[in-house]
Amino acid sequence: MKKLSFVKTAAVLSVAALALTACGGSNNPTAGGSETAGGGGELSGTISGGGASSQEAAMTAWVDGFRSVQSGATVQYNPVGSGSGREGFLAGQYVFAGSDAAMDAEELESSKDQCGPDGAFHIPGYISPVAVAFNLEGVDTLNLDAKTIAAIFTGEITNWNDEAIAAQNDGVELPDTPITVVHRADSSGTTENFTDYLAAAAADTWTYGVVEDWPEEIVAENAQGTQGVVGQVTATDGAITYSDASAVGDLGTVAVKVGEEYVPYSAEAASKAVENANSVEGAAENDMAVELDRETTAAGTYPIVLVSYHIYCNEYADQETADLVKAFAEYVVSEDGQSTAEASAGNAPISEALREQALESISGIGVQG
């Protein structure tokens, strides 16, 4: 019987612990998290989207903010990854998708099954600079050009007091510390963007092309996810990585050489890069898929930018969905939506010019038939 009483005591204790904390009642803030909650809104229903996990923090803010504008409407977003998001969108599982990469011609073609004859289109709803972040005692910022960055990440430069780094950083005292490169262990849009930049701007040094998975040939430390690499760099003196800028925290960051000057990452410099980008060849008029100009020399542009798209249908099967999607899409690119996301996720709000273009595209969302 003694054993039983031990077991009983343990059970009672743990139930009590659960109950104790449960009786505090819900601590959820009211809709919108602030007094701007207008309530009201005439739409109701649920729409589901899925895709890139890079947008997750921003999407949480959008979903919450949209609830304060349209109290009857619910948006849910499944961060399954860009590829699965596009696939689910094409299969009709999601009514919108979030994706770090634009759909290719084949995918656009097959989107006509779900979206009517005009297919789907992209809106660059989430823009975030990718920072090259490092942990180096006493150094907060470094000036580097693309070639040097590529040489560091390929392992050609192995020490922080290397000649190539010193030449670009007059007056900075560089310690004799070995460089530990930390990269993403998982497939990621961030890696793709970063290698896209290296492949375009330092083609001689970076010969591995544009990849989502870090090339196996380069032996380096790695970690899973943005939090993983940032955590690893924070813990290791002399480590360097690339990461979504919102997560770099107190780490030092690199100002990248653009034209003749060095540009540190900033929201404005990032959205400028998207504004100056070329639209994808052969795309429909309202399709805002872009090809970033990584070798840009335009002043004040930060070229390593992650653009994550929202993919919507031009035509939806029923009116209710079309209205909901349209309202949500408009909210996302609106000034309110973008600033809400910036406050939560630390991404870069889109510029006024982009906003106008996006609203124009979104206004075309309609019903099939």
């Binding site: 659960l18 959820n28 998290g33 923090a57 499944n78 996720a345």
Partner: protein
């Protein structure tokens, strides 16, 4: 030798019964000696506490063996050696447990004790809210109510599906099959099923439900229930089969001899005899699936609000919640809040499994026959 024993007896007044046994203080002497030698050895190559403890333990076990061989005999020495090793195994097993539990408790407890953690979901919790609470040092808002509900519903669903199927299959295998082709096939395929990577089970369930109910509506709690069942059934079958097999045949034969039908024998004799093992196997199976992340993510999606309906809308579960909060914080610039919620949720998950474990033991206690030496 004999003269020695006599002098021993005369000098120390030891009883005749303890002749040929090592003195009681041998273990203390061995332990002290080992500790000193270990410290001395480590002092040469650099001292550290962990190394010292390990080396002391090794030396202690070895010296005990040697001294028992010398003072008693080889058989007793072997017995003592294995006793020490078994105790050692237990201590080794405790180390990671204590370490993991300490990590979870020390990081997770503040989050769990935050007001309303278990009663709140994540509705209205955005990065801005988190940043505010981290910057101003107020308590972290948001909680796990939605994930708790989701995890419980999904796990209960999976248990309700897999335990009957698994238990009945193992009954078939042990009691009915005569080692024929069909039972061999089942055994074989159950083995195969233990090797299904969990993500594949999730994809399979998602694909199956997609063809059954159509895209869009297939993301729901029930799809996750199916995915977890695929993972859970083989574990239940394998462990219960083993438990049923060790039930002595004498019990069955005695029951048959009294004219009891086979199915009543199984229900009244075989299962009660092995119920403690079955309960423990089922608990392990539940513990195995309740912590699954990937299959639930692709089948039930994620949600920020509480959903009580397994057959409609997305559902959050604790492991998905932990994983998302840990790897993709709500506020990337202030990950501390999310981390705290993640560890607290992990603590909640452990407590749940603990309670399930207790429940299984109570059930086993209630059904088990009175035990006496067989």
């Amino acid at each position: 030798m004999t003269t020695n024993v006599k002098t021993d007896l005369e000098n120390k007044g030891r009883s005749r019964l303890t002749v040929g046994q090592k003195p009681r203080w041998t273990w203390a002497a061995c332990l002290a000696g080992s500790a000193v030698v270990a410290a001395a050895v480590l002092a040469l190559i650099g001292f550290n506490v962990a190394g010292w403890a390990v080396l002391t333990a090794v030396l202690y076990v070895a010296s005990m063996y040697v001294s028992t061989v010398v003072l008693e005999n080889r058989r007793k020495a072997t017995n003592g050696l294995w006793t020490n090793l078994v105790f050692g195994a237990f201590v080794i097993a405790l180390l990671p447990l204590v370490s993991v539990l300490w990590t979870v408790l020390s990081i997770g407890l503040p989050g769990l004790l935050a007001p309303g953690f278990l009663a709140s979901d994540m509705l209205g919790i955005t990065g801005a809210v988190d940043q505010q609470s981290v910057n101003e040092g107020t308590s972290v808002l948001g909680g796990v109510a939605h994930a708790l509900v989701g995890s419980l519903l999904i796990t209960i669903g999976a248990t309700v599906i897999s335990v009957p199927i698994g238990l009945l299959t193992s009954i078939y295998l042990v009691e009915y099959s005569r080692g024929g082709f069909f039972s061999k096939a089942i055994t074989f395929f159950v083995d195969v099923m233990t090797g299904i990577p969990s993500i594949v089970a999730g994809l399979f369930a998602a694909g199956l439900m997609m063809t059954l109910v159509g895209p869009g509506t297939n993301v729901m709690g029930f799809s996750a229930v199916l995915a977890l069942s695929v993972l859970m059934i083989p574990v239940v079958v394998r462990s219960t089969e083993e438990m049923l097999r060790v039930v002595p045949n004498e019990l069955r034969e005695a029951s048959y001899a009294l004219g009891v039908r086979k199915w009543r024998t199984i229900l009244r004799v075989v299962i009660p005899t092995s119920i403690s093992g079955i309960a423990s196997g089922v608990t392990l199976a539940i513990a195995r699936v309740i912590g699954e992340t990937a299959p639930i993510l692709v089948t039930a999606g994620v949600a920020i609000q509480t959903n009580w309906n397994l057959f409609q809308d997305w559902m959050m579960s604790l492991p998905v919640y932990i994983y998302r909060q840990m790897m993709f914080p709500t506020a990337p610039s202030a990950p501390d809040a999310s981390e705290q919620r993640a560890w607290a949720a992990a603590l909640v998950l452990i407590i749940i499994v603990m309670l399930l474990n207790l429940l299984a033991r109570f059930i086993a206690k209630a059904f088990a026959p009175k035990k006496s030496g067989r």
